[in-house]
């Protein structure tokens, strides 16, 4: 049963599956955002172009807000629209709607805003190198011993930078808000990951002006990767305000250029590492990590990203004496947000490069060095959580074997002696915790609902969206496989906040891990309760009991205790583990890295649907490789990039041959899978470049200009 096909594949192929822009309503207006083109300052005047009939437009600004001008987020500090001070380029100033989209876009383009400009920070290093830009609460893990470093230990110090990364979901942000004056309700159809987050956003901006807010998912969500986690709250808030004011449905679809300029990105990071290693035992004895991320102009959800980054920043190594300090920094760029990996790829970019640097200085092979320092059962994470399985070590051994690593290291060194181009091979390893951090799942209090009707059709109600990751196919599969019910009689319903219980957001690799495993248990429980062998037979013989509704809540494991102030305890109940090896060819004439082969071995627990899982892994690896190698805003924070022409994504010609294997799949539970493929490809490429050339690059992406500079400096 492992390869159940996706229920939505055929309509997506023949074009009949509807995405947000494929819906329309009678008398519908088109909405767009007027946003700032200044990084920091005050708005002096907004000059609308002449030759337009202003009465045809509906406009909303903060004075039209019937509720609060603050987007509900973990930290509530970001306004829906500029109140006094413009804090970043791309900050929303007004929402504007008109029946004609083309005319509206032209009108906005011709609108000129005068500013009184203030000094602004837009450069990543300018932001992150200066301690004065620090804001918000720190996240600290203090696992220090009192011992001073011994004189013979070798000290390594280095600073690593990673840039913004654009989620680049292929379908731009889109929403339709429909205000119903009779019912005084707001209905919102939106391409978003988390319908209940959007609900809070719309409720916040509308206040008491509407009595009900309903959020629904369209059939298709054209990719998200974190980019449709929190921005949709702001976005839907403004479209709803426009619909309320005009009394008409308002559709707002962002142009790609605007989407890239104003929405959230992966946080740029600066990670400073200090490690001390015993040259005899080759053990890392002491580690200090200073992890900084650029939150943008507001904190919003950045503290959560910060915590996740900090918790993964030691990678897979056991170091007794550790101190990790995580801080948010402020810049005049749009607030950064969620992106697959959520702070972890930045942390590992640093640690996994650092490990190879130490290994080189100790004159030991990077594999051997990792092996010596790897977690063992009984060791502790810096949070004091005990390591209970050695699957990371299994991943490492397997990937080394599959890639023929040892043989290639020797072969490549030999080949490189006589060639201008250089071959290289690199490793990266680590883990990714599944679900919300620490007590998060307790707070979420997730609930799912199942209705079984008179025809034995099972309808599953969850708030988790299918944005392409195949969640609705896999979730249904986990249910119907458990009770051996026919596949065509079990469906996940499209999320709608008035019908669906809140099973929590579609984030943090939690959909299958938390909700899927819950549904599987739930299926067994219903079977036990009703005492059936075959559900169809049972329904036939007990018609008067149906339709029947069942509810179940997620009950977090009581033994999971985490102190969020001290970061001591169990941060994640289950970890996925992975090891990655990439083989490259560095071209001496173009300074370009060609990706040749990539191997990934992962333990994500039970694999429910092998092809869907493989597809997730392949997509994540691709985003990971491009993060390290090519994705780049030439001018971060300054208009950034012009659509996909400026921000280039990998095509079918840019990728290596991939080889993926899942191990320890006999596990009872399916663990997190969404994020972990993203974490290791980029550092493995960086290490492969070092293996090829003997030179380390401390910044992503490893574009030819940067490689040229690194090689020149090391001559």
């Amino acid at each position: 049963m492992k390869c159940v096909k996706k229920f939505d594949a055929i309509p997506k192929l023949d074009g009949s599956w509807k995405f947000i822009d494929d819906y329309s309503y009678d008398d519908m207006l088109h909405g767009q955002l007027l946003y700032s083109t200044c990084h920091h300052g005050y708005i002096k005047k907004i000059n609308f172009p002449a030759n337009y009939n202003l009465s045809e437009f509906t406009m909303v600004s903060p004075k039209d807000i019937t509720g609060d001008n603050i987007v509900p987020e973990p930290v509530c500090d970001q306004p829906f629209m500029v109140d006094k001070e413009v804090m970043h380029f791309g900050q929303v100033i007004m929402g504007i709607a008109h029946p004609n989209r083309k005319l509206l876009l032209k009108f906005i383009k011709e609108t000129k805003i005068e500013y009184e400009e203030l000094p602004a920070i837009t450069d990543i290093k300018e932001c992150l190198d200066n301690e004065e830009n620090h804001f918000g609460k720190e996240t600290i893990i203090d696992h220090r011993t009192k011992k001073e470093p011994k004189g013979e230990w070798i000290h390594h110090h280095n600073v690593y930078y990673t840039p913004h990364q654009e989620q680049a979901y292929l379908e731009p942000q889109g929403v339709i808000s429909v205000y119903d004056p009779k019912a005084n309700s707001m209905f919102v159809l939106i391409s978003a990951q988390c319908p209940f987050f959007v609900k809070s956003g719309v409720e916040a901006i509308m206040g008491d002006a509407v009595s009900e807010v309903i959020i629904e998912s369209p059939e298709g969500i054209g990719g998200a990767f974190g980019g449709k986690e929190d921005f949709p709250s702001l976005f839907a808030g403004i479209s709803s305000l426009l619909s309320y004011k005009s009394g008409k449905p308002v559709k707002m679809i962002l142009e790609r250029v605007d989407d890239i300029q104003i929405t959230t990105k992966r946080h740029p990071a600066r990670v400073e590492l200090d490690t001390w290693t015993d040259p005899i035992t080759k053990k890392i004895k002491r580690c200090r990590i200073d992890y900084r991320i650029d939150a943008g102009a507001y904190q919003t959800l950045s503290p959560v990203v910060l915590a996740r980054g900090v918790l993964h920043s030691i990678s897979g190594y056991s170091v007794l004496d550790t101190f990790i300090r995580g801080r948010l920094f402020k810049s005049n760029t749009p607030s950064n947000g969620a992106f697959r990996g959520f702070g972890v790829p930045q942390a590992l970019a640093a640690m996994e490069a650092h490990i190879d640097r130490i290994a080189a200085d100790l004159n030991i092979n990077p594999y051997e060095f990792r092996k010596i320092n790897l977690f063992r059962i009984g060791d502790e994470f810096p949070t004091t959580q005990k390591i209970v399985e050695e699957h990371l070590s299994d991943c490492l051994e397997r990937v080394i074997q599959k890639s023929d690593y040892h043989k290639k290291v020797i072969e490549f060194a030999e080949w490189n002696k006589t060639h201008k181009d250089k071959k290289g091979i690199g490793i990266a390893i680590g883990y990714h915790g599944g679900g919300y951090t620490g007590n998060g799942e307790k707070v979420l209090d997730s609930e799912v609902k199942v209705i079984i009707d008179k025809e034995a059709q099972v309808k599953i109600f969850v708030a988790n969206t299918d944005m392409g990751q195949g969640a609705h196919t896999t979730l249904a599969q986990m249910f119907f496989e458990a009770i051996e019910h026919p596949r065509e009689k079990c469906w996940v319903q499209l999320p709608n906040t008035s019908k669906t219980p809140n099973s929590g957001p579609t984030v943090a690799s939690r959909t299958i891990y938390i909700i899927g495993n819950l549904l599987r248990k739930f299926a067994f429980q219903i079977k036990d309760e009703l005492k059936f062998k075959n559900l169809e037979e049972y329904v036939k013989t007990h018609q008067n009991e149906f339709p029947k509704e069942f509810h179940k809540k997620f009950v977090p494991d009581k033994s999971v205790i985490f102190d969020e102030d001290t970061n001591v305890g169990i941060a994640y109940k289950d970890y996925s583990w992975a090891a990655c090896v990439t083989e490259i060819l560095f071209r001496a004439d173009t300074y370009k890295i060609d990706l040749k082969k990539n191997w990934n071995v992962m333990d994500v627990g039970k694999v429910v649907n092998e092809k869907i899982a493989m597809g997730q892994a392949e997509g994540g690896i691709t985003q990971g490789l491009a993060y390290g190698l090519s994705e780049f805003f030439y001018k971060p924070g300054f208009g950034r990039a012009n659509g996909f022409t400026g921000y280039t994504l990998p095509t079918s010609l840019d990728l290596p041959e991939m080889n993926i294997e899942f191990i320890h799949t006999d596990s009872e539970i399916a663990k997190g899978l969404g994020e972990i493929p993203m974490d290791f490809p980029a550092p493995s490429v960086r290490n492969a470049f070092h293996n090829a050339t003997g030179v380390f690059v401390d910044e992503y992406p490893m574009i030819p200009e940067r490689l040229f500079k690194a090689l020149e400096e090391n001559k």
Partner: protein, 153 residues
């Protein structure tokens, strides 16, 4: 301006602004919603259709281009025998993720199989290099097209 063309094998005539994008003509005037807009600048291939049998990005072509030509969209191609065969292959490999790029990939694959069709990975990669997919990492797409090449022959 009045333009006439063949759309999915049927003769059509419409009165349209000559500079209107072909993508908008298809979506707005003919309610053919299969072609998607992802970038609007000819970079991603989500809006691909066949113009006189050749794949083009309809977001950067004007309606005037369509005059006198033959246009095929995903709605038409998916009904052909070869189209159905290709859809089955994509379906079997679970290649489709969010699906926003797929009508475009489907058309480029159809064009490749129809005009060449050799089961050659490098050729397939080149044929699909004008289409961007952010979800899949392309592996399952290659697999599907390889399978379709095999079956079509």
């Amino acid at each position: 301006m009045k333009i006439s063309f063949t759309l999915n094998k049927q003769a059509v005539t419409i009165d349209v602004e000559p500079m209107k994008r072909l993508l908008d003509v298809l979506r707005e005037d003919f309610n053919l919603l299969g072609a998607k807009e992802a970038c609007g600048e000819g970079e991603c291939g989500a809006c691909t259709v066949l113009l006189n049998g050749e794949p083009v990005t309809s977001c950067i072509l004007n309606a005037a281009h369509a005059d006198g030509s033959e246009i095929e969209t995903v709605e038409g191609i998916s009904q052909t025998e070869l189209g159905k065969l290709i859809i089955d292959c994509f379906d079997e490999t679970n290649a489709v993720q969010c699906g926003f790029c797929f009508p475009g990939f489907f058309i480029s694959s159809y064009h490749y199989i129809k005009t060449d069709g050799e089961k050659d990975l490098n050729k397939i990669k080149t044929a699909l290099s004008g289409n961007i997919c952010r979800c899949t990492g392309y592996e399952k797409i290659f697999e599907s097209v390889m399978l379709a090449c095999e079956r079509a022959n």
